[in-house]
Symmetry: C2
Subunit: 181 residues, 2 copies
């Protein structure tokens, strides 16, 4: 049997296997957006869900964070994963829906208490404060947001002894093609 990274279906399956059975670095990708000022932005996030059949992934955040403001203006994100054990970089391009309030109540009840501490900081994330600890956490479902990301394209690079790179797009039903790396 050929190695997974030598065929397009093998590579695509491996991508979704790693995203759905996420642990280690697959749990903490980098989310890139375009700020309202037009500058690129990137920060680590926690991947909270992935659905291979729908080609969607899910990130939770504070509704008052800068990333939500950026995504309201331009609902597009790039997610980047480097998975050293697989020698694999995964790059997702996604359209993003920002969900909050009643539509995420069913998700909020399943968020464990330690994670809830991340939603509901006063003052809002990014606000200047006089001293480093001049903020308080008060978990609040009203400031909980779910970024529902519909993957539009996948770029996967396997950095083995030889480099292999492929692109898969929703528009071509994820058929895939090889790219020069």
């Amino acid at each position: 049997m050929s190695e997974w990274f030598t065929t397009l279906p093998g590579l695509r399956s491996q991508v979704w296997h790693l995203l759905t059975h996420r642990d280690g670095p697959a749990l903490t990708p980098v989310l890139a957006t375009v700020g309202r000022d037009g500058w690129p932005e990137a920060r680590m996030v926690v991947l909270r869900g992935a659905d291979a059949a729908m080609a969607t992934v899910e990130v939770h955040t504070d509704l008052h964070s800068a990333k939500v403001a950026s995504l309201r203006a331009l609902p597009r994100a790039a997610l980047q994963f480097w998975l050293p054990q697989a020698d694999l970089q995964i790059r997702l391009t996604c359209s993003v829906d920002i969900l909050s309030g009643a539509e995420v109540a069913g998700i909020w009840v399943k968020v464990p208490d330690p994670s809830r501490q991340s939603y509901g900081i006063t003052p809002a994330p990014g606000t200047p404060i006089a001293d480093s600890l001049d903020y308080r956490k008060s978990p609040d479902p009203a400031t909980f947001a779910v970024l529902s990301c519909a993957v539009q394209s996948i770029d996967a690079v396997h950095l083995g002894a030889l480099h292999r790179r492929a692109s898969f797009t929703r528009m071509t039903a994820w058929r895939g093609e090889w790219l020069s790396p």
Copy 2:
């Protein structure tokens, strides 16, 4: 003596210490740009240099890569580092100069041969190919580019038992201020 992450000068010093004595994850940040199509993009790069006094960092790439095309259209980049040993996320916002040809000849001669293999792929990176290995590497100084990144702002988050976040900007001579995390 207080811990480095409890004061603004301590945090700023630590950021530059890690960027200039880079090893491990400090060597491979994620570079985010805005594509010519307006979509955010993110990929891992290798940090090849950092100068604390000038507040600049340097990345090497193939002149024909997508990131160079994006940066020609919008010469702005975000660099993101997650440094688990320091519990520190560093985010840099940079203006980027794309240098190539004669102006980087002095840098090219110092690039070791294994690294040179990354510059000069035929067909150009990202070109569709029929099979995964239908490309060849032919190191070529004409396709070597240096991204000279002038840091405009630094956002640093220390994710210790308590979270501390600070912002430093070139415009305010890197004085820094604390932010709600």
